[in-house]
Symmetry: D2
Subunit: 351 residues, 4 copies
């Protein structure tokens, strides 16, 4: 099997357009050969469990799965009774980008709340957190937040603590979708345990795919009461990999010597560089504070169309001309510089 | 990340205890670097689609997914109305080894039939294929067969044709779980299209994981009416990989120069070698005809216990002493020879 | 079994606080005795089917079920593929008052839209009707409207036609929750076929419980392609009654000599009488146009609290003091007059 | 609405071909008129709860629902985690007669066991009660028995105790489908609490429909840990009736002065009379011990065909000529005598 794509290609579409980091690829080779027990009974998965406990505390349990939707559906089921509902931002990935997986496969109802920046607050949660004990009303049992959010913003540690306390006071659990957890930890320069376990997060996903892995996420139960259900839920959601050593080994490579943070810091820095390069363009509006590896910008539709001829990226709102530009672990300074020039040229041409 | 396992370890537990073939690993490296569109909009997945059409005919569509349970659940949903049921052997993987994924996540009822050898026949199907049009009765809409079966046996092309005709006459579809499709094609020495598309199979899974891939299966729709639903069903079952190039590239490596058949032939040959080596042992009964890469044998419990001290393998029936020994693409002649000797020694010691 | 409640009690809480109309009770007696085939194979259900075809046209099929949630879940499943979603008003009954039945039991995702009056428009529908063909996005396949709405408002025939055309142009179906269909027909003074079949409604529920029946709703397929699925879906949603004659007979009594419209007209008239009696109160705001049998009014919290001491009714918004007052087929003029007096007195006392 | 059926018609098809008992109809009238809180907040439902506690003990909670499938699906969900499975007889109603409601709507997997007489034993349960803790295996969490069984047989109190103990030792719960509970209590001449609560049954349904009610079953939680989930589960399974007083009032009528047992005793006696009348026919084989209100008999196909010309009844096995004859609360001695004569005549004609 030969390479049939342009290995120099790059884009600002998504961090999952990138491939895998060389050390992740090397980890696949290192974990290969010989026979190992399947379904997680292998030394790589055991080592990963230990590593995760080092990061998240002794009570953390780690369950490697295939992808983010699988992680979310499985985790929400673990936190909720059969009749439970999840409060989330209207822009949440589970509400917008997972088909009807949470509802059909998960059996979960979402209670979405409009937000300005993809972030929930106790006040916003309260718009849906009511009707407890009334069978006619879907029973809110968990709150879903994304860190970083789908809009490239971050919750501070203090904000997460407030949310967790609020959830627990209302008898709900707090779930953090960490598909881009590394970018948040890098952006906030905090310890990951401080931002999760210590802040009161009950359960989270730890994303690998968007940060240089080939494939793989971890579901982490921080509230130990949630761990028991996970092996069964992972199985019935088709998220139990047989040759799990290869998912675990990727994570071990990512966590070794803090590669995960190094990659996220780089990715974030590239977004900042992009942001810095374009913020002076008068006809362009930055619509969200770029805290991690995404830049949301609004521009005339014609300018966006012009840029689309050369670059892959997502239209966030086809009516307003808002677009999303995303950097990844392998985005280079030169690529950003070229992109900034092309953006400026597109605006100039449109004037 | 360093190698932390014994790369010389081997077992006869399962073909998913093995790692990946070097050419599969090389394919991951070849597909790496640069940015490619996610979720299957990449050149590797396009090339795979073409390759699969070469193998299965122009009307075949190919949908890479993560694992076998995901493939089965998704495929069954595609073939069935919301109220549909699936006839399968009592020993079927969907009935015994997928938790309640078919029922809970798939919303599907299984109608199991006892079989002597894991194989359905029209007569066995008819034990459950009745009550059409009666809402009280779960409506049989598809028949599930495994090729090779969970008992290591194979359907001949003629048998598959008879099943497909029988299904279609009753208004049902025929699904083939091909987690070990390669082993069946190798065992029967037939063209894969003859055994599937031409025989009337409506849908199948094409297994990669158990034949030297790191991870990945393909759902194939041969009946073109089934293709339209698949992108949506794959998504809601959490089986849509973002960096899909890496699953597709593995399959391309496996299909190139018929590596898949070469590996399966080797694996089957190792099972035959094992079978040949032990069939003369008087206290041992071969319980299923070893047609592919599994040997089912019954022996005194004490002998099985003795062998377990040295080898990983599955007890098929803890009461009768029936065990399953499985070979894989990387099983060596020396390993089989050593195992045969150890089996003989265990019997000798027990005499 | 003796009467153990106050048969003179009345309330403005809900039309399902009322009992059944004497002619409905008489119908139960008339249908009693002797043996009849169960599950709908009886002469009463056959007569109902004919009656419904007289009302809704030859292509209508009628499926009696137990309650409104059962009718809605079953109907939505009939209109949608497994991956389908339903656009509805944020205030829709399926979104607010059915627990997570649509999601958990139905496997359906709701796409809610805020509305000022509980009514959808093409523009409001378009807020959610997008992303067709994109598996990441829940696929809108049906639009749910209530007639009358949960806010006591009505769609005109012209409005329904516009919605139906809009839905069909987008490849979606239009479902009407007619839990209070009679009240809408009575309010609009139109023929029921004009408002449904002829306007392009694909499927609807015809409510009996809230209009003087003991229990029972009918799911009606007007688009004949939807009829085939219904017997199976009704069964798997536990909505197939065995002694169905007793549900059908109630409907026959209701439909005979247009009793259903007579009761609805009366109920609506009582709401108008209530509205007329209180609209001059200066501190009271009517928040929705009272088109059917509900009056929504906003008042100081203290006044609402005062009235609660004497009457059962629902707080619609505990923060703003908005309440819902509902009349039913058996609400009397004297009851309304007494209530109006008590409302006026409560306001007077608060001044 | 007039009577349009033959009120003298009778059959031996099913106890749900019958109508309602006059005292049940009278109870509907007695509970009518005036306004009562909906959804179970009424005095009739409160009285029923008290009555049920008198029958089943202080810790019993009672949840009226619409039908047997709804009762079963709701109850099984209450006893099982999301990944749980139910062991049942192959002939169980949930396995044969509820479409795919347990699987699709309930999310439950059934683990059926062949039985000679529709009755489970610890040994039969053990055929499926294994694999605890192994995520690949559906996790058995409850055992479903029917009392009386679908084959007209009964469990003795001692047998139920043994089953309950066995379930509890294995960490499973015992559920009793009591669609014909009255017939079992009448047949065994035991106190209902002895047969349920005291025997260790965790949850049961108490059937009304098949014993002279128009419609209605009660789910009863005897194990008090199960009560909390029921209001929510009843709602999401569309089993929460709004005018619940009318279901509760029927039950109160049935329970008053032990009418339920009187009706069941009569029904059972009519089956015994039928059995006695035909057992001497040499070509006829009684295939199940007729302990309650059903008689299973095997005869030449021609004889069965002859009887079908005059009577409604179910063929249990179209190949062997086994049929089911069922009596009901309103079956008369004269009807049985006429039927016996016609059976004898049919055999005579065939000789």
């Amino acid at each position: 099997m030969h390479t049939i794509h342009d290995t120099q290609s790059f884009s600002f579409a998504s961090d999952n357009y990138a491939g895998m980091h060389p050390r992740v690829l090397a980890a696949l080779a290192a974990a290969n050969q010989g026979h190992l027990s399947a379904y997680g009974e292998d030394v790589y998965t055991q080592a990963l469990q230990q590593k995760m406990q080092t990061l998240f505390g002794e009570s953390a349990h780690c369950f490697p799965v295939f992808n983010g939707t699988g992680a979310n559906v499985t985790a929400l089921q673990a936190m909720l009774p059969r009749w439970g509902a999840v409060i989330c931002a209207e822009t949440a990935h589970i509400n917008c980008d997972e088909g009807i997986a949470p509802e059909y496969a998960g059996g979960v109802k979402l209670l979405p709340v409009p937000t300005p920046d993809g972030k929930l607050t106790p006040g916003l949660i309260d718009q849906q957190a009511w009707g407890f004990g009334v069978p006619h009303r879907a029973q809110p049992g968990a709150v879903y937040i994304s860190q970083t959010t789908e809009l490239g913003t971050c919750y501070s540690v203090a904000e997460i603590k407030v949310l967790a306390d609020h959830c627990h006071q209302l008898g709900m659990m707090l779930y953090m979708d960490g598909a881009r957890l590394a970018n948040a930890v890098a952006a906030l320069s905090v310890d990951v345990k401080t931002m999760t376990t210590d802040a009161g997060v009950d359960m989270l996903s730890f994303g690998g795919t968007k940060n240089g892995m080939m494939l793989g996420e971890c579901v982490l139960t921080l509230n130990p009461s949630l761990a028991q259900a996970m092996p069964y839920l992972r199985k019935i959601n088709s998220q139990l990999g047989s040759k799990m050593r290869f998912i675990s080994a990727q994570f071990l490579a990512l966590l070794e010597a803090d590669l995960w943070l190094e990659l996220a810091r780089h990715s974030n820095a590239m977004a900042q560089k992009l942001y810095t390069g374009i913020q002076a363009i008068p006809e362009l509006t930055i619509t969200q504070l770029p805290q991690a590896n995404a830049v949301f910008a609004q521009m005339p539709l014609s300018v966006a169309a012009q840029l689309h001829q050369q670059y892959h990226f997502y239209d966030w709102n086809q009516h307003t001309g808002e677009v999303r530009w995303m950097t990844s672990f392998d985005t280079t300074e030169a690529q950003v510089e070229a992109f900034v020039k092309d953006i400026q040229a597109a605006f100039a041409a449109a004037r």
